[in-house]
Symmetry: C2
Subunit: 188 residues, 2 copies
DNA sequence: ACCTGAACACCGTTCAAGT
DNA sequence: ACCTGAACACCGTTCAAGT
């Protein structure tokens, strides 16, 4: 097999693990090299500097994220007997995450901060969200009258809720019901 | 005057500047010391380690943030001749920030990431958002029937919009109109 | 109570050298 | 094309020593 691809894959896997568990400040080139079973110099051969390694890892993270979201959305796609309201309920429940320790959440918070000072990460992030908005809009276009409105409401709300959810006067259940009512109003 | 308080004030001012301009990764103890006109050892006398310095700076940031928000909210408080709808329009326009380079936004993104790995910062952040939710709820309680709903809708949406706003199918203007319609529906 | 400088292990990056 | 180790300036932290 392709040795080059193999070692790069291992490097990005190990970088992702460290980024998830210890954040950007805990991510060092030497730690990545050791965990990948290579020398620091060798790591630097494959990724010229720490920034390049971060960009490649974030790019890979968005790919995994994309696949996961598409799978989740496909899993709740309405069957014939499934009503639109039941589908929307599952959709909102998926987006408004329960646990603050959600797998993706930690990495997203790092990327939100890093992207302020790295143009490439900023572009990757914008591209990811635009794709996400497109899939979501297309997915719900068949069932609702204003898919653009629903997308523009749910995507920012989902990210914001992952930050402020525990500080709000309404419970998660109450909020989900509120969002569902709002969305159903859009249909008329 | 109190020398201790003076130098601590300078340190936190300089730390805030670096955090805003260069982010957490650009914030070093030596840079803070130099910019504050003291030695590294002296900085470490006032703040035992980098984490303590960050906690104190974030605490101060939230205080400034609180004061600014209260001023802004006071400035748009409805006069006798001012209608409720006009007030809500100004409120939503204030929360849904236009520029991605908003003064507070950069520091908030750093805190969102840091708070995942620092219990004290996590508590400060939660406390800030709970306070924010309380003020907002009380402010609008006189004009609307469901202030809890409006608060629980607007606070997460505002934060999420600062991240994803540029990737959404609707424009800022369209989104503000959508949110206003939703909020006015709550009144009935 | 407040301040100092030397020393430590660690970090990202550079570079000349190997295969 | 792929890999190595030494050396550089920088980092946070520790500590013994000053006033």
């Amino acid at each position: 097999m392709n040795k080059r691809k193999d070692i790069v894959k291992v490097i990005i896997e190990q970088t992702s693990l460290i980024l998830k568990d210890e954040g950007s400040s805990g991510l060092t080139m030497r730690k990545v090299a050791t965990n990948s079973g290579i020398t620091l110099s060798n790591l630097q051969y494959h990724f010229a500097d720490r920034t390049k390694l971060l960009q490649a890892t974030v790019e890979h993270f968005f790919q995994v994220c994309e696949e996961t979201i598409l799978e989740e959305l496909k899993a709740i796609e309405p069957k014939d007997q499934d009503s639109t309201d039941r589908f929307l309920k599952k959709l909102v429940g998926l987006l408004i995450i329960e646990d603050i320790d959600h797998y993706f959440n930690g990495i997203f918070r790092e990327i939100w901060a890093l992207s302020l000072r790295n143009k490439e990460l900023e572009d990757s992030l914008l591209h990811f969200y635009k794709n996400f908005a497109n899939w979501l809009t297309r997915l719900i276009a068949g069932f609702t009258k204003h898919p653009d409105k629903i997308t523009s409401l749910l995507i920012p709300y989902a990210d914001g809720y992952s930050i402020t959810g525990r500080a709000l006067p309404l419970s998660r259940k109450e909020i989900i019901n509120m969002l569902l009512k709002i969305i159903i109003e859009f249909k008329n």
